[in-house]
Symmetry: C2
Subunit: 192 residues, 2 copies
DNA sequence: ACAGTCATGTAACACGTTACATGATTTG
DNA sequence: CAAATCATGTAACGTGTTACATGACTGT
């Protein structure tokens, strides 16, 4: 069973059709309407990606949705697709890439809600917290090691990184506490 | 004067050789040794990129550094290269892309230190502050508009975004204050 | 002499972007 | 009926990744 290596974009597409079956156009609207919209996939990337996933047997088009329905191809995941999605959700958090992949990790966290157990989610958040702590510690070490004499901007930029990753780190603690606290999915407005 | 459109990576390479002439291998070490190292350029992207910049007349290889010097191609910017770099530094901050380009903006901020006046830097930081404020306001509006009923993770992810961009926003104020306070305009060559 | 590093480069491959093409369906 | 939107797709082009190749120099 050679896991076909997929791009992050493809993993997200599988995740979205796992949430609910959708056509390419539907997915476009999702990207446009949610905060995911920082990335706006083009037709030239979206439709070929869906076709690749179909060719790899990870999604399939509902043929029942056919005929008069205005030429729409609505995709749903196959069993292999759901398996690949579950595997992706369990991808370990690497310290060396946690900064680069932070957005991706957040996306995974969102998609875990209806696919993973509370323990798995808390384990993931714990790993993310540890990775962010290690990463910020590395930044602090670097800041301490390089004496900023003449140049101010690099030090300020480093401050930015520290401020941002510390905010992420704080958030992991907040999220862990929030998920530990609430057993039933009640509609408590999260405010902090 | 048709500005040749360059990738972000190419702009950064020009910026680095503007800071001080460097070979491809030198640049690799810079990426490996500094917090820029979240991105690790491969040989297959770095050397072709330098050749493209040379072909476009934006950098040139020091031929004096030649012959016995162990086959090194040390690049320095041409006048056109410095002009392109200056133009890039002055690229306006767009609200719609400020989240995606935040790392790039920080990189520009670092490179402005010895290339831009204090007024230009403060103007840039002001624009960045405004863009981040508008972006976070948009996130807040989205959070308020979408009633999170059953799902908790999307709301928590939104909290993360808000926390992170607010940290960036706070940093802009901090940086503006720090640069306003600073008297000494050092013009020493950069060390990183 | 040999290994390791320095230093640059190439080739195959896959992917994203841009721009364009196509036709069906709704709306004024 | 015309225009806008829905909906999918293709082709050229550039670039990044991976993996490999090459040669010069350094240290032991």
């Amino acid at each position: 069973m050679a896991e076909p290596q997929l791009t992050s974009f493809e993993h997200i597409l599988i995740g979205l059709v796992c949430l609910s079956p959708a056509s390419g156009y539907d997915l476009k609207r999702v990207f446009a309407a949610t905060p995911m919209g920082v990335y706006q996939p083009s037709s030239g990337s979206l439709y070929p990606a869906l076709r690749r996933l179909e060719a790899k047997g990870l999604v399939k088009a509902l043929d029942g949705t056919g005929e008069s329905a205005r030429h729409r191809r609505v995709y749903e995941p196959t069993q292999a697709g759901r398996a690949a999605h579950a595997t992706w959700l369990r991808t370990p958090v690497e310290v060396s890439t946690v900064a680069r992949d932070l957005g991706l990790h957040l996306m995974r966290f969102v998609m875990m809600e209806h696919a993973s157990s509370r323990e798995e989610v808390l384990s993931f958040l714990g790993d993310l917290k540890d990775a962010l702590a290690a990463f910020t510690a590395g930044l602090e070490r670097y800041a301490g090691a390089t004496a900023q004499l003449d140049d101010r901007h690099p030090g300020l930029a480093l401050d930015h990184g520290l401020a941002v990753y510390r905010a992420s780190l704080r958030w992991t603690r907040h999220a862990i506490a929030a998920l530990r606290a609430a057993p039933a999915p009640s509609s408590q407005p999260s405010s902090w």
